[in-house]
C-alpha cells in the first residue's frame, strides 16, 4: 500500500459523501411499513400530552413553551422521525454562533493560532522581540507580559482560554436553541461515551473539532464508524496516549529520522487506549477479554498517531521526512490529522479475542480490530444498555436491553434503529421510566433556559454554575465520562447548589442571560403567588401534579399572616428611613411604599420561579 495522501478539501468532500450515504442507506421512511410506527404509550395509560412531555424530556434538553402541544399535533412518531433526520436548518442558531470565529477553524489552524506551552514566548525570542536573558531572569514580569501580548496581537495569535470559552459557549447555545435537539442530545451522549478531557493539555486544543467533526456528524450513524473515527482523532490519540505507542525498541537506538532519541521520543508500547477501548468504548469490563488481549490489541494499534501539524518548531521538517519516506516505502497512511506510521508498528503476529493477526500487517489490522470489536455481542449489549440508561432509567429492564441489542446486531450497529426500538418498547413508557431520570447539572441549566424562553447573550456565567453544581463540561478527567445515574449527581452539596441556581437564575442574577418572566404571561403580572405557581409550574414541570405542588407551596406563599408581616416589615422600614411625622414625608412614604410593593411583587415572582427550578420535581425528567 502506498501512501494515501488526502488533501483536506477532498477529505471534507469524502466525509460529506460518507454522511450522505449513511443517511440514504438507512432511511427509516423508505422502509416498508414505517407508517405503522406507533409508540405504545396509550397501552401504558398515558395521554398524548403526557407522552409528548415524556418524549421531549428524554430527547430534547427541555420542552419550550407550547412545544408539548405542537408535538401532539404533529404526532409523536413524526416528530421523532424528523429529529432522527436532524435536518432542520437552524438558521437562528447559526446567526448566534457567528460571533465565535474559532468554531470554523481546522486543527492545524487552531494549533497555529492558539499557541500553548510557552510557544508564543519562544517565537517572540526567535523573532528578536524578546530578549532571552530577560525571560530567564523574569526581571519585570509586567513589562514582559505587555511585550508578549503585543507580539501575539501583531502575529494574530490568541490565548488558548479564548478557544475554550468559544467552544463551551457554542455547546450551551446549541443545547439551548438547536432545532435538531435529538442530535444535540446524542452528541452529548457519545461525547461522554468516548470521553476526552480538557484537563489533559495535550488533547485539549483538539477537543472542539473532535466534537464538531467526529462526534456530532456521526451521533445518529453507525457505531463502527464512530468507533474508528474517534480512534483516529488527535483528541483521542492524545487523551489515551496511543499517539505515543510504538513497537518496543532499544533505547540506545537512533530514531527513524536518524537523530539520537530524547527521553520524550522514546518508543514503546502504551496500552492505555487499547484497554479503555475494550472496557469503556466497546465490550464493557465484563465483556470477556483478558490482560493478554489488551496487550495484543495495543500492539495492533502501534503506529496509529497524529500527523505533524502547525508552522512551528520542526513540524515542516517532520512532514517533509514523512513525505520522503512514504514515497519510497509502503504502508504509510495519512488522512486529515491522522497518521499511520509503519515504522512504529509492531509487525509480529498478534492474537486478540482469539482472532489472529498474521505477522507483517499494517494499518488495516487496526480497522479489522475495530470491526471485530464493534460486532462483538458484548459490545451490542454494552452500548444498548448505556443508551437505555440514558433514555429510560438508571436500571433499565433486561427485556428492553435485549430488544435493543437485537436491533443493534441486525442493523449493523445503526444507532437510529436502536433508538426506534427503544421508543417503540412499552418499557420506555412505563411508570419505571416516567420522571425517573435525574437531570444532570447541564440538563438542569439548559432546561431552565428552554422552559422559560430565556435569552442567552453570554453563556460563561451559566457554564460556571453548571460546573459548581458538579458537571464541569469537557473536564471529566477519567475516560469513563460522567456516571449517568442520579446517585452521582444528587448529594447534599450539589442539591443546595441546585436550589441556589434556581434562585439566582429566576432572580436575574446570572450574568449574560435575560429572564423575562412576564413575557411568558402576556406581560401580565400574576395576581397572586398561587397564580404564579400555576402559570410557571405548567411551563417548568408539565409532568408533575400541579395541584399537589400548589397544595404544598401555596399555603406558605399565600398565608395572610405572612403577607401582613412582609408589608409591615417593609413599611416600617420606609417610614423610619423617611422620618415619620409631617404629612409631606408621609406622602413620600406612601409613594415609596407603592414602589416597594411592585419591587416586592417582582421579587415574589422571581422567588416562586426560583423555588420551582430548585424543587425536587424540576430535578427530574
Amino acid at each position: 500500500m502506498s501512501i494515501q495522501f488526502i488533501r483536506r478539501g477532498i477529505l471534507v468532500i469524502v466525509i460529506g459523501c460518507v454522511v450522505q450515504t449513511m443517511l440514504s442507506s438507512f432511511w427509516f421512511t423508505d422502509r416498508p411499513g414505517y407508517k405503522k410506527l406507533k409508540f405504545p404509550y396509550k397501552a401504558a395509560g398515558l395521554s398524548p400530552e403526557v407522552a409528548a412531555a415524556h418524549l421531549l424530556s428524554r430527547f430534547t434538553f427541555g420542552a419550550t413553551p407550547g412545544q408539548i402541544d405542537q408535538v401532539v399535533q404533529e404526532g409523536l412518531e413524526n416528530w421523532f422521525l424528523k429529529q432522527l433526520e436532524a435536518k432542520y436548518p437552524d438558521d437562528s442558531l447559526r446567526m448566534m454562533l457567528r460571533q465565535y470565529d474559532a468554531l470554523y477553524l481546522s486543527n492545524t489552524q487552531i494549533v497555529d493560532m492558539y499557541p500553548r506551552g510557552g510557544r508564543e514566548v519562544r517565537m517572540a525570542i526567535k523573532d528578536g522581540v524578546l530578549n532571552k536573558d530577560s525571560v530567564d531572569k523574569q526581571t519585570d514580569k509586567k513589562a514582559y507580559k505587555v511585550i508578549v501580548d503585543q507580539y501575539m496581537k501583531d502575529r494574530g495569535l490568541k490565548p488558548q482560554q479564548e478557544l475554550y470559552k468559544q467552544f463551551i459557549s457554542q455547546k450551551i447555545l446549541r443545547a439551548a436553541y438547536s432545532e435538531n435537539q435529538l442530535q444535540e442530545v446524542m452528541t452529548s451522549f457519545w461525547f461522554n461515551h468516548f470521553n476526552v478531557a480538557m484537563v489533559k493539555n495535550d488533547c485539549a486544543e483538539f477537543i472542539p473539532n473532535y466534537e464538531r467533526d467526529i462526534i456530532r456528524p456521526r451521533s445518529l450513524a453507525k457505531f463502527e464508524d464512530l468507533l474508528v473515527s474517534t480512534a483516529k482523532s488527535p483528541a483521542m490519540l492524545y487523551y489515551l496516549d496511543n499517539f505515543s505507542s510504538a513497537v518496543a525498541t532499544d533505547t540506545t537506538k537512533k530514531d527513524w529520522k536518524g537523530n539520537p532519541q530524547k527521553q520524550k521520543q522514546l518508543q514503546g508500547l502504551n496500552e492505555n487506549y487499547a484497554r479503555e477501548v475494550m472496557e469503556l468504548h466497546t465490550l464493557g469490563v465484563d465483556g470477556g477479554y483478558s490482560q493478554a488481549d489488551v496487550t495484543e490489541a495495543a500492539k495492533v494499534l502501534t503506529g496509529w498517531t497524529v500527523y505533524p501539524m502547525g508552522d512551528f518548531d520542526n513540524m515542516d521538517n517532520a512532514r517533509q521526512k514523512i513525505s520522503a519516506d512514504s514515497s519510497k516505502n509502503p504502508g504509510w497512511v495519512h488522512e486529515g490529522d491522522f497518521l499511520f506510521n509503519p515504522r512504529r508498528h509492531d509487525m509480529t503476529q498478534k492474537v486478540v479475542l482469539g482472532h489472529i493477526f498474521y505477522a507483517g500487517g499494517g494499518y488495516e489490522e487496526g480497522l479489522e480490530l475495530f470491526h471485530i470489536l464493534s460486532h462483538h455481542p458484548s459490545t451490542a449489549r454494552f452500548i444498548c444498555r448505556e443508551i437505555a440508561i440514558r433514555f429510560a432509567n438508571d436500571t433499565p429492564a433486561t427485556s428492553l436491553v435485549e430488544k435493543m441489542t437485537k436491533t443493534f446486531v441486525q442493523s449493523d450497529g445503526d444507532i437510529r434503529a436502536v433508538l426506534i426500538t427503544l421508543v417503540s418498547s412499552p418499557e420506555f413508557w412505563s411508570p419505571q421510566a416516567i420522571q425517573e431520570k435525574i437531570k444532570s447539572p447541564f440538563e438542569l441549566a439548559i432546561s431552565s433556559v428552554r422552559s422559560l424562553n430565556v435569552h442567552i447573550d453570554d453563556p460563561n456565567a451559566l457554564n460556571n454554575w453548571i460546573g459548581r453544581m458538579g458537571e464541569k463540561i469537557y473536564n471529566y478527567q477519567a475516560p469513563t465520562g460522567f456516571p449517568d445515574k442520579g446517585l452521582y449527581w444528587i448529594n447534599t452539596g450539589s442539591l443546595l447548589n441546585r436550589m441556589n441556581f434556581g434562585l439566582a437564575f429566576a432572580g436575574g442574577r446570572i450574568q449574560g442571560i435575560t429572564v423575562d418572566l412576564l413575557s411568558l404571561n402576556n406581560r401580565h403580572e400574576p395576581e397572586s403567588a398561587a397564580a404564579a405557581l400555576e402559570i410557571y409550574g405548567r411551563l417548568l414541570i408539565p409532568l408533575s401534579d400541579a395541584l399537589q405542588m400548589q397544595k404544598r407551596l401555596s399555603p406558605l406563599l399565600n398565608d395572610p399572616a405572612l403577607a401582613q408581616k412582609v408589608s409591615a416589615a417593609a413599611s416600617s422600614k420606609i417610614i423610619s428611613e423617611n422620618g415619620a411625622g409631617n404629612s409631606d414625608s408621609l406622602r413620600q412614604a406612601s409613594i415609596a411604599m407603592t414602589q416597594q410593593r411592585t419591587k416586592q411583587n417582582n421579587t415574589m415572582l422571581a422567588q416562586v420561579v426560583g423555588i420551582l427550578i430548585g424543587s425536587p420535581e424540576f430535578q427530574r425528567r
Partner: protein
C-alpha cells in the same frame, strides 16, 4: 423514610403549611416534640482518607533502592539514595537502609522518624484488574470480587461507629460529587466549599424565611427516595454550619496549606474537626497519578504530585495542633505501576503500591508489609510488584482501632484475613 423528619422546623410557618395541606401528620407532630440540639457535639475520633486517583507508582514513592532489578528495569526512572550519585538532583531519603522516600515527600520524614507515620508497601487488591475504574470501584466498595455492592466501605464504617450522637457532618467528602466510598445508607455529604453551604437568598427576612421553608417543605414532602433524603441532609447541614465563622478561618501554628485542590480540601477538613460538628469520617481526592508519559524523577509530574500530597498533609497535621490525638490520616490508591518503565518515559498500570498512615496511634517509623526482590520470578504475571498485603487488612485495622468499629463482616464482607499491626494496640 417519611418518618425520618429529623429536624424540627425553626419556624412555625412550616407546620402551618403542612397543616393547611391536610392536617398535621402524626410524624410531624412527633418530630416537633423531639427537639434536637444542634451542636456543638462531643469531640470525636476522625479518620481522614485521601484517595490518590490514577494509581500512584509505589516504587517511586518509596523505592527499594538497593534492588538492582529495579535499576535495570527503569534506566530513566530509577533514583538513588546517594547524594553523590544523584547528579545534582535531590536523592531519595533513606528510611531504613532499604527503602528510600521520594525527595518531594520530605515533609513526611520527621513524622516517620517520630514514629507517627507508617508506610505499608506491597499493598493492593486481590483482584488483579488493571482498570482504574474497576480497581477504584472495588477498593471503594471494599468488595474486590463483587461489583454489585451498592455501598462504599467508608459509608459502612460511618454506620458502624458506636456513637450516640448523629450529626449531618458525621461523614463529609470534600469533593463536588459523592465518592463511591460514601455511597450507602448512612447519610453522608459532599461539599467542595464550606462557604457556599447556605441558601443564597435575597430580599427581606420574611421572604427569605418563606423561600427556605418552601424548599424544605418541598423536599420533605416529595416522593421518598434520593431527592427527599438528600434534601433533608442539606437542610440539616446548613443549620449546623451557620453557627461558625468559616470565611475568616486562620490555620493554627503557622501552618501553610498549598493553594491546591487537596490543600483546600484538607484545610476545610481541619476547620470541621475544630468546629466540633461531629466529623468522624472525612474524604478527599488527589488526582494526576496516572503517569504513563514523562513521569519524571526528582522533578517532573510525579515529583509535583508528591510535593502537593506531602505539603498538604503536613500543613494539615500542623494546623490540627491539640486535635492530633483524635485524627488518623490514611492515603490509598487503586493499584501500583509496572516495575519496568514503558516506552514513553512513564509506567503503565500494575498491581501493588504503597500507602501512608499518619496518627499518634499509628505504629509509625516503619515500612510495613512485604516487598520481595523485584526479580522476574517474584513479580505478578512477570511484570508487576506483587500484592502481599490485602488493602482490607490495613483499612480494617485502621478503622477498627481508630473509630472503635468491631464488625468486620459488615465493613468488609467476605474478608477474613489477618492484621499486620500497623496500629498500636488500644489501651
Amino acid at each position: 423514610m417519611a418518618t425520618r423528619r429529623g429536624f424540627i422546623k425553626g419556624s412555625g410557618l412550616a407546620l402551618i403549611g403542612v397543616g393547611l395541606a391536610g392536617g398535621i401528620p402524626a410524624f410531624a407532630m412527633k418530630a416537633a416534640l423531639w427537639k434536637k440540639k444542634i451542636g456543638p457535639y462531643k469531640k470525636t475520633q476522625t479518620l481522614v482518607c485521601i484517595f490518590q486517583r490514577g494509581a500512584m507508582d509505589g516504587l517511586m514513592a518509596v523505592t527499594p533502592f538497593t534492588d538492582n532489578n529495579l535499576m535495570v528495569a527503569r534506566p530513566n526512572l530509577f533514583m538513588t539514595a546517594a547524594a553523590g550519585l544523584a547528579g545534582g538532583n535531590a536523592p531519595l531519603i533513606d528510611l531504613d537502609g532499604r527503602f528510600g522516600l521520594h525527595p518531594m515527600f520530605k515533609g513526611f520524614e520527621p513524622l516517620f522518624r517520630d514514629g507517627r507515620l507508617a508506610i505499608v508497601h506491597g499493598i493492593g487488591s486481590p483482584n488483579n484488574t488493571r482498570s482504574h475504574f474497576d480497581a477504584q470501584d472495588y477498593m471503594e466498595s471494599g468488595t474486590p470480587f463483587n461489583k454489585g455492592t451498592s455501598s462504599g466501605w467508608l459509608n459502612r464504617a460511618a454506620g458502624l461507629i458506636p456513637s450516640e450522637q448523629k450529626t449531618p457532618f458525621q461523614a463529609v467528602s470534600l469533593t463536588s460529587a459523592l465518592p463511591r466510598s460514601f455511597y450507602g445508607d448512612t447519610p453522608c455529604i459532599a461539599i467542595s466549599n464550606l462557604q457556599d453551604f447556605a441558601l443564597q437568598l435575597r430580599g427581606n427576612p420574611m421572604s427569605i424565611k418563606s423561600a427556605s421553608t418552601s424548599f424544605e417543605d418541598l423536599y420533605d414532602q416529595t416522593t421518598p427516595g434520593l431527592l427527599q433524603q438528600a434534601g433533608k441532609e442539606s437542610f440539616d447541614a446548613i443549620k449546623l454550619l451557620k453557627q461558625s465563622d468559616i470565611k475568616n478561618y486562620q490555620p493554627a501554628n503557622q501552618a501553610v496549606y498549598p493553594s491546591t485542590a487537596l490543600g483546600n480540601a484538607l484545610k476545610q477538613i481541619a476547620q470541621l474537626i475544630k468546629m466540633d460538628v461531629g466529623l468522624e469520617v472525612a474524604f478527599a481526592e488527589h488526582g494526576g497519578w496516572d503517569t504513563h508519559f514523562n513521569q519524571g524523577t526528582a522533578t517532573g509530574i510525579f515529583a509535583n504530585n508528591a510535593a502537593d500530597l506531602s505539603n498538604s498533609i503536613t500543613a494539615f497535621w500542623t494546623d490540627l495542633g491539640s486535635y492530633q490525638d483524635e485524627v488518623v490520616v490514611m492515603t490509598m490508591t487503586e493499584f501500583g505501576r509496572t516495575v519496568h518503565q514503558n516506552g514513553t518515559g512513564g509506567t503503565d498500570h500494575g498491581r501493588a503500591s504503597c500507602n501512608f498512615i499518619l496518627g499518634n496511634k499509628v505504629r509509625g517509623g516503619k515500612v510495613h508489609g512485604n516487598v520481595l526482590a523485584l526479580a522476574v520470578e517474584n513479580l505478578e504475571e512477570g511484570r508487576d510488584l506483587a500484592v502481599t498485603t490485602d488493602f482490607r487488612s490495613v483499612f480494617s485495622e485502621v478503622a477498627d482501632n481508630h473509630l472503635g468499629i468491631n464488625d468486620d463482616h459488615v465493613l468488609f464482607p467476605d474478608w477474613a484475613g489477618s492484621r499486620i499491626g500497623v496500629m498500636k494496640k488500644p489501651d
